[in-house]
Each structure stands twice: as C-alpha cells, then as structure tokens.
C-alpha cells in the first residue's frame, strides 16, 4: 500500500526520534486489540447472514453457527432486477452527485479564500450559518416538491447533498494555506483572468483536498437513504441503501409502535418480515461495495486533509 503517508512520516523517519521498545510494543498490542473490537461485530454480521435461520432463532447470534446456509442471499437475489436497478441508481447518484458537488463547492470556496476579495467574510458566514440553523423538514420538503417539483425525480437525490458547509470551509482553508499568493500575482500580471487562474493554477495545486472531499462525498451519497425515503414513491428510483434499509425500517416501525401494530392486526393486516439472516445479508449488500472500495481510496484521504484541515 503505497501512499503519501509513507513518504512523509515526520517522527518515524528520524531514527533518533523513536519510541522505546516496550512503549512501541504496547501501542501495537493496544491497536491489535482495538481493531479486533471493531472488526468482530462486522464479522458477526457476515456470519449471521450465512447461518441457518432456525439455528439463529434458537441459539442467538453466533460467531460459529452450527449450521451454515446461503439461503438469505439466494432469497435476496431471487429478485435481482430490483437490486441491479437500485445499484444503477446508487452508482449514478454517487458519481454524478460527487462530481457536481466537487465543482460547485470548489467554485464557491475559492473566492472566499482570497484575502483581497472584500466580500470573502460575509460569504464565508453565509455558508457557515447553514451548519447552525435549519428550517425543519416540512418547509424543506415544500421547497423541493412545490417550488422545484422534484418529487420522484432523481435530482432530488442529488441536489440536497451538493453543498456541505464543512467541506467548503475545509477547501477554503486549503486554498488559503497552500496556494502561494505570489503565484497568483504573477499570473495576474501575465494577464490571466480569474477563471483561468482558478482552472490552470489553483485546481492542479489542490488535487489532495479535492480527492479527499470527493471521497467523503462519495461515502455520503452512497450511504444516503433518507432522501429516497422522503422524495421517491416509485421503487424504480430508489437507491440500494434505501432498498435494504426500508425493511429494517418496517421492522422498527412495528416493533416500536405496538399501538399501531395492534391496530393494524385488529384491522386485518398481517406482517411477514424477512428472517434475521436476510436482514444481515441486506446490511452486507447495502454497505458491502463501499466497505471493500474504501481501503483502496482511503490512502488519498490523509494527504488531502493534511493540508486542508489546518485552519487559516
């Protein structure tokens, strides 16, 4: 795993400046234990998803079930059309959303990073304020459905997450701290316009922060299920996260609303829930791809944040 971190490891690169052996061993031991603590529950989910259902009901969740069974996955993939379609939606939303989010946020962050721009402060506050104050779900919904008429539209899965104030601030900090103003000055003397400077000089110098933000936005888009819940009524346009998660929501709803559950039953409704093993298989199908993809692009995170998170 080659990465920027390996090239730039301040304390470790200096042989005189290292920890004593016991301390180092202690740290290793500690992290091995902690990593186990994090990974064990995830393994548990995988094991339950490939267990035999009746074994799970009888013995509870076990790391080593007495009987294995792939029935949960067979059940889920019986209707593969919907899963494939939802994966398609998720991939489109994630790719398109991340790209537009990146472009729009960078375009916003650059001007407010320029100390010579007189309105940099108010526009910084304009974006920061949105982190502290919100109008609530209903008015927000009204804007999207009545004003923009985006109900059941795939754009409703993209637009609300395009701007994350946090990442705009991170980008701004990066631009302030790492783009040498001398470079900008000389470009201006050469007669380059602001847009040219931004495209030709600023963006190429900012790849680390762009990569980091891109990856965090990828996670955000992939993991989102709430927008599907709110805006989409047709299964054709739901993301794979929501497809998996809504079953969990159904179970939660009835488990936590015993009044409603009793009333529904009294009115003649019956419930059939997927079994425990299917629930866990759903978790794996929903988060699986991104978990496996994560280590491959995680290496970019650190470099981007390295310079980006330092406040200017």
């Amino acid at each position: 795993m080659e990465s920027i971190v390996a090239e730039k490891a301040p304390s470790a690169s200096n042989p005189q400046n290292k920890l004593s052996l016991p301390a180092s061993a202690g740290i290793h031991l500690f992290f091995i234990l902690y990593s186990l603590f994090c990974i064990i529950p995830v393994i548990l989910i995988i094991m339950v998803s490939i267990s035999d259902e009746s074994t799970v009901v009888r013995e509870g969740y076990q790391f080593f079930p007495s009987k294995f069974d792939m029935g949960a996955y067979e059940f889920l993939f019986k209707d593969a059309r919907q899963i494939i379609r939802s994966y398609g939606i998720s991939i489109f939303v994630t790719v398109f959303g991340t790209l537009s989010s990146l472009i729009i946020m960078a375009l916003y962050a650059y001007p407010i990073s320029r100390s010579d721009f007189p309105h940099a402060k108010p526009f910084t506050f304009f974006v920061f304020f949105t982190m502290l104050f919100g109008g609530g779900l209903v008015p927000w919904y009204l804007v999207y459905v009545q004003m923009l008429e985006l109900k059941d539209n795939i754009m409703a899965l993209i637009l609300p997450l395009v701007i994350s104030a946090f990442f705009v601030l991170i980008m701004r900090t990066f631009f302030i701290t790492t783009i040498p103003s001398a470079v900008l000055e000389s470009a201006k003397i050469d007669g380059a316009g602001e847009l040219t400077i931004f495209m030709r000089i600023v963006l190429p110098l900012s790849l680390p922060v762009l990569a980091t933000v891109a990856l965090f936005q990828t996670l955000t888009y992939w993991n989102d299920w709430f927008l599907s819940l709110v805006f989409i009524t047709k299964d054709a346009n739901i993301t794979v996260q929501y497809l998996m998660y809504k079953t969990m929501l159904n179970i939660q709803f009835l488990a936590n609303n015993s009044t409603a559950a009793a009333a529904i039953q009294a009115a003649g409704g019956t419930f059939r829930f997927p079994s425990e093993t299917v629930r866990m298989a759903m978790v794996i199908i929903g988060v699986g791809p991104i978990i496996f993809a994560y280590p491959f692009f995680q290496k970019y995170f650190v470099k981007g944040l390295t310079v980006g998170a330092v406040k200017g």
Binding site: P118, P122, V145, L249, T259, A262
Partner: protein, 515 residues
Amino acid sequence: MTKKSRGKWVSLLLLSMITVLSVSACSGNSGSGKETAATNKPEQSAATGGEATEAPDELKPHKLTLVYPGTPQTDEAVVEEALNKLLTAKINATIDLMPIDWGAWDDKVNLMIAGRDVIDIYFTAQWNGHANNVSKGAFIPLNDLIDQYGQGIKETLDPAFLEGAKINGKNYGVPTNKELASAGGIVYRKDVTDELGIDMSAVKEPKDLDAVYAVVKEKRPDLVPLYTNGAVFNAHYFGNYDFLGDSTIPGALLKDENGTTVAPVEDSARYQDYLKLARDFYVKGYINADAATTQVAPQDAWNAGKVFSTIEPMKPGKDAEIASAAGIPGKTAQIIMTSKTVATSETAGSMLGISSTSTNPERAMMLINLLHTDKEINNLLNFGIEGVHYTKNGEIISPTGKTADYSPGSAWMFGSQFLNYVWDTEAPDKWEQFKAFNEGAISSPALGFVFDSEPVKSEVGALANVIRQFQKAVETGSVEPEQGLKEYRQALKDAGIDKVIAEKQKQFDDFLASK
C-alpha cells in the same frame, strides 16, 4: 471582522432574506389550496369544473392516485394496466397505485400531507392520526359526495360504520366494510393441548389459563406458554377499554358497561385485577422474561415455533391466519374471552379518505364506491390477475407460482372485504362467519366520538413519554405491580393526566348532549 465588513454581511443577509421571502410567499400561496394545485396541472384543471352534474359517459379522463401502506409489488404495473381497462370503461379514469412501506409511512405521509402533494385518495385510520389530520384540513368532508356518488356504499355498508367514523358530525373517510365487532382472546397450539391431554373447553376467562400453562411449562419446556411483546390482558381490545380515539392518550370508558365517565384505566378494578394476574403468570415463568423489551413480534415468535399461545384481537379465523403464516396449518385454535363490542376504533380502524388536494374528488368517490360494490375491480386490486397470480374455483382461490409477484395483503384497506375471494387455506364460509360475528355486539356509548387532543397537546406529549416508560414493564408483569403501578400513576399525575381526562370528559359530554 471589521466593523465595515460586518455591516456588509448584515445587509447581504437581509437582502438574501428578502429575496427568499418574496419567493416563499409565492410558494406559500401555491401551496395553499386546491385551486392553485389545479393550475399546476393544467391538463387536470379542465376536469374540475362542472363535473358534479356530468353523467359517467361524459366524464373527462382522469388519473386517480391511491396512497396506502404496503410493500410495493413486482407486478404492480401489470395490475394497474388491467385496472385501467376496467376503470376507463366504468368511470373513464385510470389509477396510479402508490404503496408506501410501513417503515416510511408516517414520515412520508405526514410530509405529503403537509407538503400539499396532489393526491386523490389516502388510506387513513383512527389509530393513524385521522382526527389530527382532519383538524389540520388534510381531508375533505365526504357526506355530500357519498350521497351523490356513493350509493353503493350506503346500500352495502352497515350504517354503524359511517355513524361511528364521524368527526363533528361529518365523515372524512369511508370505512372498509369488514368485521365490525371486536373482542379479545387467545390463539393456542391445539396439537400441543391434544398431545398433553388438556381440556380447553373449560377455559373461559384469563384465570382459567393458569392450570393449562402450568402443564405446558412442565411438559413442553421448549415453548413459551404465553408470548407477548407488550400488552397482555390489559390490551385495550382485551380489557374493552374505549380510549375515545387514540389509545395512547389516557382516559377511557369501559365500553361493555355503558359507562359515560372518563377515567384513567389504571384506576379501574378490572385493570388492577388483570395486572395481578399478568404478574402472577410472569413470576411463574409463563410469560417470556423479555416481554417488556423484545422486538420479536408475536407472529415472528410463532414462525420460529417457540410459542404455545398469544393474546390476540379476535375475529373468525384468526387462528387459521396465524397458523398459515407460521407454516403450521390446522395446528391452532382460538378462544374468545371477552364480550364483543363496537367502538370507534373498529368503525374508523381502516378508511379511505379524499385529500383536500384532490383535483377531482367526485371521481375519487366513484372509485371508492366501485371498491365497495364491484367484485371484479375489488379482487383485481387485492389479488391480481386471475390465471396469473391465482387460480379460481368458485369463490375459492389458490396460489400459483406467480402469487408472490402480486400479493399486497391489503384487502382490509379497500372497499368491502365481503367481496373478497377466499384462499383455499381459509374457511370457505369465512364471510358468513364474519357476518355472524358482527351480530349481537355491544356498542360503546362513545361510538362515533373522537377526542381532539389539540387543547391539551402539551400534556398529551408529556404523557406519551410517561406511558412508553412504564406501560410495557407494568402490564407485562415484568415489575412488581403494587410499587410499579404506584410510580406509574404518580408519573401520569405529574404529566398532567387530570387535565387531559377533564378535557376528554368535557368533549364527550358535549358529544352526548348533541346526540
């Protein structure tokens, strides 16, 4: 931040706010009534005017939207197409089915209603915020529409339904025609009692179960004698408590005793007796130990095969329903243990309401009328296409390989259940049994009254939390009843139960006086 720049951002903020205000004022208007909703959809607005007098053959085409809770079905589009053919011929309408998963139902429907989505028909029910939505203007009054376009409903539906679903003298939803009475009882494993030689005919009321459970516990340790995830004998359908609307708002009548005094159920002798019994069963280990916290619903526990009996709201065939869902057909039986009653919770337990955003309420009512009278349309919506999703022999239907692609299980929401075909696993005379079951039920004195919680909503909110804190633990017998109940009642008092009871009593007295 310099003074100068602060001045600037304040003015910038103000300006953007003003821009925003002018935009939102427009949106406020556009969201405010069905006239404007209609202008959003010009092709539909033409259909709004002067239609009340049109005869069916002159009707302009209209697409009706029907929103109801349920899992979206794979073959929804196919069924919609078949429905469209029938509906176009009869009322020149097409239909857009919009099932919403239960887990998303509350969030989504609240937003759709508050967000003024243009919808024609919503599923609504007394236990699902019907009264509140009515008071907030979500539904239109239907009485005139029923008179004009709902003759079939009036002919087939027991008048008690419409009477019992009224709010302030008006109907805001058309109840489903189904069983009217309610009672509480148990469903148990008949094969187990046969095997152990237990005589169930002697079991008439809850305390008779003691002896039965003792044997089951001893001989069949793999079964939970009485499985529950909340209510035991003090479930409102078992205790015959009429909460005058939402059963999570305290203050009830004993509906089988013709009372008119609203009181906290926790004060009643019946409640306290049942509580002692539940505690006794719990201590003896008849009730599952995790009753107060388990998230395994009774049906799931049945499916897992670890249950001897559960408390259920009763109707004919409840035992068969549970058994077939659990894959043990024929191995269960049921005993009704309380008197049969009729209250608003049954009459308004499942309804179709017409949204105040509907662009064509007349057509919506025609559809509801068809669901109550037209056997073909009703069964198409509920079971799919004959020969594809089921095969039919007389009134009895059997599943096919494609049944799973369309089986919404929502028959109890749409029109008249008495029109439904019967699955081959059910009693062939199911609907006769239902009719018989409806006979001789006691009507609650509060039938047709629904409490409006608006004047005391702060207290109701506080009480909702108290109830969730104590109710399950106390009513499943998980805690010692004397001490537990004392704390529970004190907490209810602190949260303002007296004020809520007084308000309920006042509204109820007004209702009685106006009758």
